[in-house]
Assembly symmetry: C2
């Protein structure tokens, strides 16, 4: 086996292994409420959001880089599992669990690609570049849209109130006026449809 | 409502509607054979293939454009349904059905975005640019990998022989030496594991 072939096969083995991402189930439902969506479905959807919203922003993004961040942003959940955004206990050690998972998962790639994928994942996590800010806002906007259009099914199951969603949605609201307009539109729809768990008295 | 808001909401409505792509089920199984994969999962996986294999090719591709082609390449199946690659009857009128679906689906977007998405979809279908050739080869490589690693489950269900797969895989074999090496590796594995339906005598 040549060195070039060994490298190719290592990348291919990683790609075949990454199939497991389709078995990680999120809390969000499909918009018709029929079942929860998988990480792979969520990620494809976020990527489509990026492609169709990038020119509506008040700042520039490199779309190739944005899509790279999105495509790998949840990949560590193959080992770390999905952490529900409103599960405070699980959120507390999420960073440590995911860091460990990233080391294990990305080490399956040749070193240069390992470093590149790890770099995309960390750039998304840190949320400092324009591409990462946009991608993070879309992560929230996509999930919020699924929750609102499915009538708040996942929120009601977990007792999530309107107030509690603000903590999570703030990053999307502050990213850009276009994203803010869409998030506010979704809040207005959820208000009309009464999709929230009532606030504690 | 301002013109800008109307445009944004139109794009957002399309993105929420595109959730239906997660309900289009393909013939291919997940690698563990537990269930078939959805169009959204297949598309995410192809996009990851593109991201990790683009620098292994003997020709240059614009990764942002490649990913755009991939992200929308099967979107018309929301209306036209999945056409199994080895179903000759369905393949015969596939182009006409998908063209009709494209008109209906992409018309939901503002005209400039409608034309852009339609252009990406047609570029993929025509397969002439480097990006489209690469994306089409990955469409075949990803599906072939799912079939081989799941032990040929979908092929056996549909009586697909080794010979019949060549017609479909030829485009991937001829795209680039790196892709060819990976396809040949999968053929070798399927041969060892005996995953094919026997050839007619």
């Amino acid at each position: 086996m040549t060195e070039k072939t060994g490298r190719l096969e290592q990348i291919h083995d990683f790609l075949l292994f990454a199939d497991r991402f389709k078995q990680i189930v999120r809390q969000n439902y499909l918009t018709d409420g029929s079942r929860r969506e998988t990480d792979a479905e969520h990620t494809w959807h976020m990527a489509l959001y990026a492609l169709l919203l990038k020119d509506e922003l008040g700042f520039d993004v490199d779309i190739g880089r944005t899509l790279a961040l999105i495509l790998v942003h949840d990949l560590v959940e193959i080992f770390a599992g999905d952490t529900f955004a409103y599960d405070d206990a699980a959120m507390a050690d999420q960073a440590a669990r995911e860091d460990e998972a990233a080391k294990r998962l990305f080490a399956m790639l040749p070193p240069d690609l390992r470093d590149r994928v790890d770099g995309w994942w960390r750039e998304f996590e840190e949320g400092r570049t324009n591409e990462a800010r946009f991608a993070r806002a879309l992560d929230r906007l996509q999930a919020f849209g699924q929750n609102v259009v499915s009538g708040g099914k996942s929120w009601r199951e977990h007792g999530v109130t309107r107030t509690r969603t603000f903590r999570r949605m703030n990053e999307a609201l502050e990213c850009d006026p276009a994203i803010r307009a869409l998030v506010e539109r979704l809040y207005a729809r959820a208000d009309v449809e009464g999709s929230w768990t009532p606030e504690p008295a």
